[in-house]
Assembly symmetry: C2
Homo-oligomer: 235 residues x 2
Amino acid sequence: MGTASTNTPKPAMRDSLIAAAFQLFLERGYEQTTVDDIVTLAGVGRRSFFRYFPSKEDVVFPDHEQCLADMTRFLAASADADDPIVRVCDAARLVMRMYAENPTFSVQRYRLTREVTGLRTYELSVVWRYEKTLGDYLRTRWADRRDGTLRANVVAAAVVAAHNHALRHWLRSGGEGDPLAEVDRALEFVRATWSPDAVADAPAEETEDVVVVITKRSTPMWRVVREVESSLGES
Amino acid sequence: MGTASTNTPKPAMRDSLIAAAFQLFLERGYEQTTVDDIVTLAGVGRRSFFRYFPSKEDVVFPDHEQCLADMTRFLAASADADDPIVRVCDAARLVMRMYAENPTFSVQRYRLTREVTGLRTYELSVVWRYEKTLGDYLRTRWADRRDGTLRANVVAAAVVAAHNHALRHWLRSGGEGDPLAEVDRALEFVRATWSPDAVADAPAEETEDVVVVITKRSTPMWRVVREVESSLGES
DNA sequence: GGCCGATGCGGCACTTGGTGCCGGGAAAAT
DNA sequence: ATTTTCCCGGCACCAAGTGCCGCATCGGCC
């Protein structure tokens, strides 16, 4: 899974357009760069730019469409057994992984989106699509639950907010540190607030020798013990 | 407070532009209406439109700027005594009240934003400013708290999501029923998840309901139990 | 009452993002 | 080798948004 399957046969022109665009954006700013500037630097026709990118803003977020498709497939391939909240948290990790793949590119783009209002707005629409995808998944999983759609919307928003919190902290630091660990911490906060104190499905792969159990103060001690024991027993 | 204080001296032209715009938007669609169409119907010059509205989208959301200022003032006028979460929930109610003031207008706008992508994106940027305002407030209130900014971001997102849930449900029903009651229900869900169910009394700061236990498989169980118990005892 | 400055409105001219359309050329199918 | 298909480039064009300037109207001030 991860980053496989999807084919990008010959995106030579597309990549050169992205490269030319970012070169100009970084040296003279986004709004000071026209599409004509980009295509002349890339040596292609103006019409071809809009063939690969529906708008000028799209060239700044070239991989989000792909990532969104990955998330949709990931959620569609989930079983009824696993905790929905854990599932959407894992889905959010997919996005963070995409950012972490190209740290320098992500940081450069972050600086752009912070300064240019239009780009921030565009990013908002992208984030909204992620949130909607997560919300739709939770809504179907909690169709029978009381206040299921309200719960789905709130949890989806919380997951996105936690993800963005970790992401922005990492981007502001210039791409230092482990973004995956940060998003794990943030998402764990969200999971702990809603998912019952069950440990859920410990990653199993990542276990090593350490066992993490999260519980609430109100949980009786014998349940905590049983939770730790079961966590030790499996995997 | 509420809807007082702010002065709108002579918005004659501004109002006529809004009226003309919505008339055309509703009868032939947003994208099929040019700014020239609006100004000719309103009987004013094209340049005047952009004097009152920085962009074509702004005419669809004429009162959000005012509402955002109201929310900012409302949060700034809060005391340290009241629960921050209750405060941001009340702030969200302000927005719902604004929508509820003109039901038919709100419903018409809702239909537009559902169909036109550009308007939905614009609305997202408005919602983002609300969420940022709430988040900034919570951040300062929880400056000393552990994971204060993460908590602030997540709670702000949850409040906005709950508000939007109630709002959209009301708008989809065509403006029937009491939107204030609906948003109360939704916000109560959010408040109950974080703010201890005590309505007021015990400050009980830093209760931190969640306990994280990290141990190794090799650790004997009695040590784990003692660790958990000591963790529960302190703080 | 006559003069004058500020303010608001309208009319250009212009830039830029974005689209429809068509012609040409290279590759691929036959 | 011919034909079909697909990709690219070059127009022409539309609409959003901005800068600039002229004009009118309204207000204060002497």
